[in-house]
Symmetry: C2
Subunit: 309 residues, 2 copies
């Protein structure tokens, strides 16, 4: 950082291309401060994670983050510092510099994060629109934890040691930055982060690319505790996992010839693994661009849900 907090604007050394994402969260809409589900530090971390996840979904390197805090009456200075500390901890672990921001009075707590990432010369960035018929479809890590954790927070399923990993997915989500860079470098044709649910986000890739993603939900990697919570909710676990938003895992399309390179790159990056869950096929009048989700030979609607605490 060439100039930071204390001048009119932050100045940083740029790399070739600048990748920017903005993500805002508002109390009562995206979280519920009064119900004490999340600490201010968790709210800070989660807000930054949402913006960084969009950089991961391009294959960019994280650079700087800028935080806008709208602080309501009664929100103490200590709580505000906790919130910033939560964001700072995730910033440290992801190599992100918190380079500036703005603090304003507001009727309710709100956090808006601008995350700026970079791509160096030769570094591939990957959008949603490059998937080709024949590509493999994969997802990073394990799914369903955020949806299951939310159900527990809302009291729709009981809390137990089994569901703690799922709760962690809601309260302390991790952007898959290293995984995104590895997949982009290994030849990914399309990449998106799962913020609206796998079904919805895979549909975004399909429509942007003009292909149909055929996904076998039986192959989904499930977070610990998802089966138990799904049973409580009367859902099949893969159904819950495919509809669960704010997972912040990546959904990727990749030519089959690049599969080994992608797995090797992910392994070298030391992040979470990848599971291959389907194929991209040519769109047709009968099967237009989008997504088909199948479970035990039955087709499901790709409806997801965004987290609304």
């Amino acid at each position: 950082m060439l100039r930071g907090i204390g001048d009119d604007a932050a100045v940083v050394r740029a790399y070739e291309r600048c990748v920017t994402s903005v993500d805002a969260m508002v109390d009562g809409v995206h979280f519920r401060l009064a119900q004490g589900w999340a600490t201010p530090a968790q709210i800070g971390g989660r807000s930054l994670a949402g913006a960084l996840s969009d950089l991961a979904a391009m294959g960019a390197e994280a650079g700087e983050a800028y935080l806008v805090l709208g602080l309501p009456p009664g929100f103490t200075e200590e709580q505000a510092l906790d919130l910033v500390r939560g964001a700072a901890a995730l910033a440290r672990s992801t190599g992100t510099t918190i380079a500036g921001g703005d603090v304003v009075a507001a009727p309710v707590l709100m956090v808006a994060v601008t995350a700026v990432g970079w791509a160096r010369p030769g570094q591939r960035l990957v959008g949603r629109d490059g998937a080709q018929p024949g590509d493999l479809v994969g997802v990073s890590g394990r799914l369903g934890g955020a949806g299951a954790g939310l159900a527990v927070l809302e009291g729709r399923a009981p809390r137990s040691a089994r569901v703690e990993p799922a709760l962690a997915r809601v309260l302390a989500p991790q952007p898959r930055l290293a995984e995104g860079r590895a997949l982009a470098g290994a030849g990914a044709s399309a990449l998106i982060d799962i913020s609206d649910g796998l079904g919805v986000d895979a549909g975004h890739i399909g429509r942007a690319s003009g292909v149909r993603l055929e996904i076998d939900l039986g192959a989904l990697p499930l977070e610990a505790g998802v089966c138990e919570v799904a049973a409580e909710l009367g859902l099949q676990a893969p159904e819950l996992a495919a509809a669960s938003g704010e997972e912040y895992e990546l959904c990727v399309c990749l030519p089959p010839a690049s599969r080994a390179a992608a797995e090797l790159a992910l392994s070298a990056a030391g992040g979470v693994g990848i599971t291959w869950i389907g194929r991209a096929t040519a769109a047709s009048a009968a099967q237009p661009a989008g997504v088909t989700l199948t479970l035990d030979g039955r087709e499901l609607a790709p409806g997801g849900f965004e987290h609304r605490w």
Copy 2:
């Protein structure tokens, strides 16, 4: 723009250094939607102007802007589009690209803008901390309009044709981007935009630079209508002008040898002019780093006021 709205993040070609500022405005704090003082379009323009003004104060080129809109119940789609159109109009006139953003539900209207600017190789960026004893102190444009306009909006002074230019300073502020680049290129040693009032902001330069700015308020260039409003308020016009926030004019320090170059560069840039209003002097135990404001031989406190509609 290499990738824009519709993917996970925006991608733009970078120049050497990246200059970023974030500015948030909240209904009831920074403006009062219910009182109808400003249209949604004016609120959009004003929010962008605040963030761009910080780039002007570094001497950067405007690049991209990212808008976060928190929309309350009852704020119509047409109003939201008006707000964006107001920002887009200022973006166009300043060469800024609105490259992305986020729209969320919120209990009251809030707008957060991240403005990203650029500096090319060899381009000077100027902070607050470079003023030297002997430097001239100047301000761009004319001051006091925002403070006078606010007093009229609040009903503390009568509205008349005379005060329309002052009202325009509140409702449609213009960031001084071309002027900032011209002054930086001509050798400015310190630069700040007047958001808290000239007295306060000149004090920021003085303390950051370790010098004392001695400013003759009698030399201040006054916006039309400021004298009339000041008389209504029982103030002297330069007093009102020195305390008026969100002026978005620039305060600059510059070696006397660069004065002609600065005036020439400003003239070539086709923007507002500059008025020389004082000198930087060495700080001492008796006169510590900061600012001295003098009017008719009398010293005034540098207190400013931020606009709080």
